[in-house]
Every structure is written in structure tokens, then in C-alpha cells.
């Protein structure tokens, strides 16, 4: 059983991947909850063990890992986030406060245009895993959308052309218009 790192909004968060550390102190990492939703975690204070946590979509996470979305925007793209002050190693002792994104002091966020850099093969492998998960999600969305629109017996290939150009495999890295559309759809169809 994985260790619970935080409890946010009644969701237990487990470590998904460590993105950055200093002296083995985690600085930036990704957690997942039981519903497979992902959260971006940033240490805002080494000594006092304070963290900033927000949900992050697969699309934003993928773009952040690829250096296309700055880390600050990954937080600001969410309507709210949580500030966590640890009182020991047990999450049950944490002090958790929820903030509207607009009201949170921006000095604790990374500077504007601060981009994540994939610096080794292990991190690149994590990005590829996220990209695959994103593509699988896109596929599921397309199927559900077609089923809703045309019924379950509709030919998938022809029907999906209503929504995407599926003549080629989705180019996750380079097709911004498809991804923007998909990002809007994820909340509706990705359950």
C-alpha cells in the first residue's frame, strides 16, 4: 500500500512522481488520488515544510513537462489550491487551508516563465507515460462523444471525423487546437 502524503478535500494523495529535489528534500512533485486525479505539489518553505498543492490536468502536466507551460501557470490555471503546513511526518497532523487562486500571495509561486526541464531519461520516461495516458484519455473522450451523438452502433472512424482529424495519429506535442478542444472536453467526458 502506498504511503499517504497529504489529505486534501477528503482525498488521500499518494506520490506519483518526484520532479525536483534538493539535498533529497522534495521540491516539486506530482501526487495522485484514488480517482487518479493528479495534483502538483510545490515546497514553498524548506525549513517549515510548507507546500502549495493544486490539481493539474493531464494536458497541463504534459505541457509543463515538455516546457510548453510554465510552472506558475500550471497552478494559476486552476480555480483553487491548498496551502499545507506540516507538523511532522504524519499527514493527519497537517494544517490545510484552501485558497481561491486569485487571492493567494503570488510571491510563493514560481516566477513567470519558469519552465520545467526534463533533464534525464527517467524524467523523460515519466513524460512519455503521461503523454500516453493523455492520448488514451483523448481516445475515450472521442468514443464517448461519438456514442452520445450518434448512438453506440455508429461507425467510429467515420463519426469521429466530426470532431477530430483522425487521419493521423494524434500528435500530442504539436496539435494545439485539438488539445485545447480536448482539454475543454475532459471535464465532461473523461469520468
Amino acid at each position: 500500500m502506498n504511503k499517504v502524503y497529504f489529505k486534501i478535500d477528503n482525498h488521500a494523495l499518494y506520490l506519483d512522481y518526484m520532479l525536483e529535489e534538493y539535498d533529497y528534500v522534495p521540491i516539486l512533485y506530482v501526487c495522485k488520488d484514488e480517482e487518479q486525479e493528479r495534483y502538483l505539489v510545490l515546497a514553498t518553505d524548506f525549513e517549515k515544510e510548507s507546500y502549495l498543492i493544486s490539481k493539474i490536468t493531464l494536458l497541463d502536466l504534459n505541457n509543463m513537462l515538455l516546457g510548453k507551460l510554465d510552472i506558475r501557470s500550471a497552478f494559476l490555471n486552476q480555480p483553487k489550491f491548498w496551502s499545507v503546513h506540516c507538523n511532522g511526518t504524519d499527514y493527519q497532523d497537517d494544517m490545510v487551508n484552501e485558497y481561491e487562486t486569485s487571492s493567494y500571495p503570488k510571491e510563493y509561486l514560481p516566477a513567470k516563465d519558469e519552465f520545467y526541464v526534463l533533464y534525464d531519461e527517467e524524467h523523460k520516461e515519466y513524460q512519455r507515460r503521461i503523454a500516453k495516458e493523455l492520448k488514451d484519455t483523448i481516445d475515450k473522450i472521442a468514443v464517448k462523444k461519438v456514442e452520445l451523438q450518434f448512438g453506440e452502433n455508429m461507425n467510429f472512424e467515420s463519426a469521429t471525423t466530426e470532431f477530430f482529424d483522425w487521419s493521423q495519429e494524434v500528435d500530442i506535442e504539436n496539435n494545439e487546437s485539438q488539445l485545447t478542444f480536448v482539454n475543454d472536453e475532459i471535464g465532461l467526458y473523461a469520468a
Binding site: Y22, Y24, L28, C86, T89, E107, L109, P110
Partner: protein, 149 residues
């Protein structure tokens, strides 16, 4: 793990280290990296230190405290790694700055020389891990503290 350093775990050298390192190495049967340097010429490095805004005071032993001495969340799975018990320094300022881009009030950069009297090192450039001896005396250090921006 490398073989060379089993020697150091069983001889008096291990006694030179603080108890948290000795206990960790014994408990998890850890060895130093075989490329660990026990004798070396002074090497210039950069290290993050925590200081209030107007505080540029001299580097002390406290600035070389390993977080293994004060474990925190997310570190539980790292206790079997030898460098977990060391501290990080960098031979290139830029490499350290890149690590520190994320927010942390009070971060500053100290530049100075590591000396073999402080403890053995393991180089994986631009990163150098230093395992600090219990009695390491930093009073004569040449580290200068400056803002990192």
C-alpha cells in the same frame, strides 16, 4: 554498492561521522560509492544556504547539515542511498541556480572550497556530495554568501 568502502565502514573512519549517518549505514547496510574521494585538493563549489533577507553571515557547520538529520515527508524511501546522508554542492553556479528557481524565501548562495578535513566527497559533476565529519571545523572556511538572483 562499491566494495572499496566496506573498509571504511568497519574501520575507525566510520566513527568520524555523526550518529545519524553511522546508524543509517549500519541499519540499511549502506556502503559509500566506490568512487568516493577521501583525500582531495580543495575544490570550489556553490551551496544553498538559508538566510534572512539582510543576513549574509559566515557559513557554519549548520549550513552543511544533512536533511537526513531532520527527515521530512517524501524522504522515507531514500534512506538506503549513501548520498542521502550527505549534502549537495555544485561546481557550477548555474546548476545550483536552476535548482533554486522555485520559490523559497531566504535562499542564498555560498561559494567557497570543500576541503578533505570536512569529509569525503563523491563527484557526479556538476554535483558533488559531501559527507560531513562530526568534528568538521568550518571556522576557517572561505565561503562567501550572496543573493542568488
Amino acid at each position: 554498492m562499491g566494495g572499496l568502502c566496506l573498509k571504511h565502514m568497519t574501520d575507525k573512519n566510520l566513527k568520524k561521522f555523526p550518529s545519524f549517518l553511522r546508524e543509517g549505514f549500519r541499519k540499511y547496510k549502506i556502503d559509500f560509492f566506490k568512487e568516493t574521494e577521501w583525500s582531495y585538493s580543495p575544490v570550489e563549489v556553490y551551496r544553498m544556504v538559508l538566510r534572512e533577507k539582510a543576513d549574509f553571515s559566515k557559513v557554519t557547520r549548520v549550513d552543511f547539515t544533512s536533511f537526513a538529520e531532520k527527515p521530512r515527508r517524501g524522504m522515507e524511501n531514500l534512506v538506503t542511498k549513501p548520498d542521502f546522508y550527505g549534502v549537495s554542492t555544485f561546481t557550477e553556479r548555474e546548476s545550483l541556480v536552476n535548482k533554486l528557481k522555485l520559490p523559497k524565501p531566504g535562499k542564498k548562495i555560498a561559494r567557497g572550497h570543500l576541503k578533505e578535513e570536512y569529509g569525503p566527497i563523491y563527484r557526479k559533476l556538476p554535483h558533488i556530495c559531501l559527507w560531513v565529519y562530526s568534528d568538521a571545523d568550518f571556522s576557517d572556511n572561505d565561503f562567501e554568501v550572496s543573493n542568488y538572483e
